[in-house]
Symmetry: C2
Subunit: 218 residues, 2 copies
């Protein structure tokens, strides 16, 4: 591989890892803003999303330059195309964290979620953090064994998502329609966030192994 | 441009136009299934989604082949990369139509939406159809003047989406929490569908003009 291509791939990889850190931090802080009705925290997540978008554009530019100038071979080309897709998924994960923060801001100074569901959302936030941190590791180390962990975390997020549906739809739900919709949309943001992390992981596994990943719930 | 590249670009363009037709038909039929609680129609939308996914894979393969084998120049390369992104958006639009169909199936034989909101969802379905049909035209003809129409339709979908929120949150909403959540999620599927069509249009405009599109609400 020539030096320019290797440099482009390094920059792209660094950008993608940095993106996983930023979207992880964004969801983590959005969850805090949600759990504590913390307006300043919510605003900081919303303001920081631009940085994620800039990194996504940078990845796209680097990949295009590498494809156009470095004559990538049959092993590097799928990697460059994969990086474009991964950047798009990570950008969307940043948007979803921003959606959570905007929901917290919308209901401020009230909490967006009833007190008794704070534990469930804290758990979803913790799973989101674990998923994105492992996704960053998969990109950095290519240790595809982590994919199984990510799949299990994702299944857990799906379970909590279904559980929240059951709760807001039970006849004893005391918080009214607005709150039920808030909970449902928020829960969906976490669920989509985890799905995108799974799709990033799938891409990496395909690049590393050359085959579609068919492991646990991925 | 060499003949192989030109052939690859033609196949990709044909696949993308076909995808707009399929995701348009899917959302159209999903809307019918929703409005009429038509189970067979819903099942047909769900079954047909695989065909859309296959076309998306075909676009990806063709683009990779073209990039690897045809030495695309600085004008064709962004087009090939753009096509990858467009295929991903269209695939997601197919998924959203499938979500609408699955919602119709979930509540069958009941209607998923209250009688008095059928008109609003019919209108959203009509706008989705108009948007995707014009998006197909933009891809086919590169007539970027259609972008302004698409932006206006999208703004209209956003307005209906907000209107539905207001309705389900009003104190006089008589249909309970489950129905409010169904309406909210369904409305969000149409809104995301329109957003993806806008993002496809933006990509085409950028390819054609070489500049980001900054027109009406795009």
């Amino acid at each position: 591989m020539d030096a320019a291509l290797s440099r482009h791939l390094d920059v792209v990889k660094g950008d993608l890892i940095r993106m996983t850190q930023l979207v992880g931090s964004a969801m983590n802080r959005a969850t805090q803003a949600l759990l504590d009705a913390d307006l300043a925290m919510a605003e900081s997540v919303i303001a920081a999303d631009a940085q994620i978008d800039i990194l996504a554009s940078d990845v796209e530019e680097q990949c295009l330059d590498a494809i156009a100038q470095d004559s990538p071979g049959s092993s590097e080309l799928p990697e460059l195309i994969g990086a474009l897709r991964i950047a798009a998924s990570l950008e969307r994960m940043g948007d979803l964290a921003e959606h959570v923060a905007k929901q917290a801001r919308l209901r401020y100074p009230r909490l967006s979620i009833p007190q008794e569901l704070r534990g469930t959302f804290a758990e979803m936030g913790g799973l989101a953090e674990a998923i994105v941190s492992k996704t960053g590791s998969v990109i950095a180390t290519r240790d595809v064994a982590l994919a199984a962990d990510i799949g299990r975390h994702d299944a857990e997020v799906d379970r909590l998502h279904r559980e929240l549906f059951t709760i807001v739809l039970s006849s004893s739900w005391p918080h009214g329609v607005e709150s039920a919709i808030d909970v449902t949309l928020l829960s969906r943001y976490y669920e989509r966030y985890a799905d995108h992390a799974v799709s990033v992981t799938r891409r990496v596994v395909t690049i590393v192994t050359g085959e579609p990943y068919v492991g646990v719930s991925l």
